[in-house]
Symmetry: D2
Subunit: 298 residues, 4 copies
């Protein structure tokens, strides 16, 4: 299986590294070619152009947003034109539902396969091959990707034939995380003002009801008001909440907590928080209580 | 250590059973004496009056609400009058912060010890001695309770000298659970209307980001619209959200998600949902999307 | 008709003045007797004690809150004890529904009449006899008060026999005003950041769709960020929103905008805004947009 | 001044009629030519094509939405191509801010004038020349339109040189109206369940604090649950709230009441309310209280 990997940002580079370690022959491409050096040193071949990267059985993309994904697929010299008929585009970026729908339709019309398989996990999880992967697409195409999923993640899930549904599930997962951040922020604001140590509260909760990394990591970040450096920046999280709300609008589904989160992110951005981790929305409740973020009076 | 247990509802009876199995000599009391039979059969002694139950080193109460707790403590023939000086009232009920404050102050004035130690867990967890216990109070008093906590729960946490803070943490824990229910309900409403199987979504989430019983159990309840029989009824959950908001009002802390949850519970009750499990608020988002609860069109 | 007036704060003193100017023989009483001087100079007689004020056919009260009203009615030497059977208590304070219900029941049991007749208008409207009055109570009792209403207000409305319903309507009126303030604040935040002069916007709106003093005055206050001196302070407005939400809880009616307003007021108070006019909640939207209150960047 | 009028829906036809009655020589055009008959009978000349309608000093458009406006301006045979240099496009439709910005820029580049002048008022107000008009654009161009505004409305307002700001003010005006509808709905839900006649409440409020047609008409509609026939349909109102929120997103301004209104409209549409008047969102609060819309139990 000839595999190409397009998009060598922090996530993509870590994922490509996992594939190399798992023994895949890999061709890599990035707009800014300097990003490929560590990977070529580890055995990847550099594709000098996107067109050459398209000489593959499976072309994986891991890109920042809809615009980048559509440029790679629909642009001159792009995937739609140069990927062979019968080959497969495995799109692992976090895309909006309409974007995934456009990609799926265009590839189908061109006789190419398409699988949406966004991931949960930060760059360190990607480097450790500990991602969670949610895949959807035509069943044969998804099955063909399984060895790649096994090399990239600790677990993968398949969702059926409609590729954009994987992107919707990814958006819903990020929504659940953002909701947990907001609720932790409100509880910490209250407890901090009441005089309870917020970190102790997070310890108690994550040793009892919520023994999961998300609650622990975001809870501790909020309790300590540590929002830099960002693992996942507020603008990217805001983009995902907007994509969720757009999908919900298209289906006529009101989502009151998502609406509230949208307003939290807008405020954070308006106040200059674009460089902060998305957990920083969890500091706003303390501010509204007249406390410093982190919730403690002193 | 002479231990008495007052309040033999479903939770209390299961907890008293755990203490008997752990070898404690136990005296039990309930307003309706029939509730004590299984326990006396298992070796507990029946206290015919509350006054006699007060002949103890530690008197444990597990009661439905503030009113019941205050009746037992402040009523004629009550704990405040008959518990010996130097003995200890271990209050494991879910109480409001002001109620806990009144109990702590009254016991202190009477020369009696007081510990607040509310629990997380349903009756089946109580019967299996798998509760989580959050305790606060004067450190010597809390230490004296530790053998009881070890017999009742899988883990206990201490929070400092101010007893009502344990009750506030309990309210915050229930708030985090209710928030997760609401967010799961919104995600399921959207996915169900989009054509994704909600149970599959819950499986994916609880096998990846949220591998905890709360997300699994409530998520599956919402996906299947199964809200009866109730493990924790909507009116009790509503009471806890109200207590949380009252505590927040007293400290001037706005809690927008808690406000939203309050409105969800009010609506559920107004629509006749008083007998339902609190997870039923998670079915409202699907209804607002014009779908049956559970989120699936058909 | 012998009329007594109890409660000579800014509103009460202005209202008592209107009654004097209309020719009523008036006896006045205030806890702090200095407040009565201008009125006695204008012809009122001073009642040295509340008991003596009760020698009246109609005793009017205009007091700050539930607590003050209940102290005057239920306290030793209070109205319930000393008002003659067949005489009437005309309560014009803004009270909660349960408080009004307690007053109505107690007076009925004592053979005294009771009318709730809260007012809309600030002290300057009271001084100009331009209040709006909303009255409820037994129809004969309300009819007996009509000459007083005519002297105090530009218009009065009767609502039926259940006195506390007048208090509920008053709370709803304040809720409509607070909602308008919040919405004006949001619109002004947006327009200000877009570069539109907020005062021009207020002019346009109040010259077209909303030609009423409330929109004009609060809109201009928000546009100019002028929240002092307060005509109606944030803590009093917050109290009214809380009373509204309590009434709604008792009837199981979710009120999402009222919940949002409650959180706005809590935030304003937490940030130290207790001395500000309630219109100051209208400045929070601009702050959340990263703008100074008033909405203009510079 | 040669004036052409494009868009003869209910609003447009009524406005064109006002211009004829004021003595303007008018050429009219509509995609479906049957709509022009009453106007030609009243003295208008029919333009058989849009191109011929462009032979004018001022071309007025009154169209349903962004799409219709952009088709008329940018389409083959459209205004941008055929309107003479120096002539003026007076756009009175309710458009989004980005759409107005595109129109303004294109006309400027083509050497044509452009004024945005959306209106407040329903078809009956248009027929009676009682509209309120909010205009923005280059000052000479706006001044040239003044005789038209005088013939169409009871009052017009100018806002400065940036044409899209008039559209933003229009969106904000509709937002204030929708907010008032929601708040009236909540108050009526509460009062109705408490046993107060909602129509009496609306009478009291609109005879005192809010003596304006909007509060009276929408309040009575909600109190009586009369939402058909629609004066302004829920989908159009929803579109305006979405446009407002998009403008707010672009400027990073959180608008919590607007977010809540968006969710109300989505729910109304999901429940099948597309044919209803936008006031129907005011019936949802009663439904959430377990009452029929209109708020009265029986």
């Amino acid at each position: 299986m000839r595999v190409s990997f397009v998009g060598l940002g922090r996530m993509g580079a870590a994922m490509a590294g996992s594939l190399l370690r798992a023994g895949f022959e890999l061709r890599v491409f990035n707009r800014s070619p300097g990003r490929a050096e560590a990977l070529t040193a580890a055995g990847a071949r550099l594709a000098p152009t996107l067109e050459e990267a398209c000489e593959a059985d499976v072309l994986i993309t891991m890109l920042a947003d809809d615009r980048a994904a559509e440029a790679v697929v629909f642009g001159d010299g792009g995937v739609l034109r140069f990927l062979p008929r019968g080959a497969l585009h495995l799109s692992m970026s976090s895309l909006s539902v309409p974007c995934a729908r456009r990609l799926a339709a265009a590839h189908a019309a061109a006789g190419q396969g398409y699988v949406s398989a966004p991931v949960f996990g930060r760059p360190d999880a990607a480097a450790a091959a500990k991602l969670f992967i949610v895949a959807a697409g035509e069943s044969g195409a998804v099955a063909a990707c399984q060895p790649l999923f096994d090399a990239l993640g600790q677990r993968s899930f398949t969702l059926g034939a409609e590729a954009p549904m994987a992107n919707l599930v990814k958006l819903c997962g990020n929504f659940l995380l953002a909701s947990a951040i907001e609720s932790l922020g409100e509880a910490i604001a209250l407890l901090g003002k009441a005089g309870v140590d917020p970190e102790r509260f997070v310890e108690v909760m994550t040793s009892s009801l919520f023994p999961v990394p998300a609650y622990r990591n975001y809870g501790m970040a909020i309790a300590g008001a540590h929002f830099e450096p960002a693992g996942f920046t507020a603008p990217l999280a805001y983009k995902d909440i907007r994509c969720l709300l757009e999908a919900a609008e298209a289906l006529e589904v009101p989502l009151p907590v998502a609406s509230l989160l949208r307003d939290r992110f807008l405020r954070l951005l308006a106040e200059g928080g674009a460089r902060l981790d998305w957990a920083a929305i969890g500091g706003l409740a303390a501010r509204d209580a007249g406390q410093p973020a982190g919730g403690r009076g002193e």
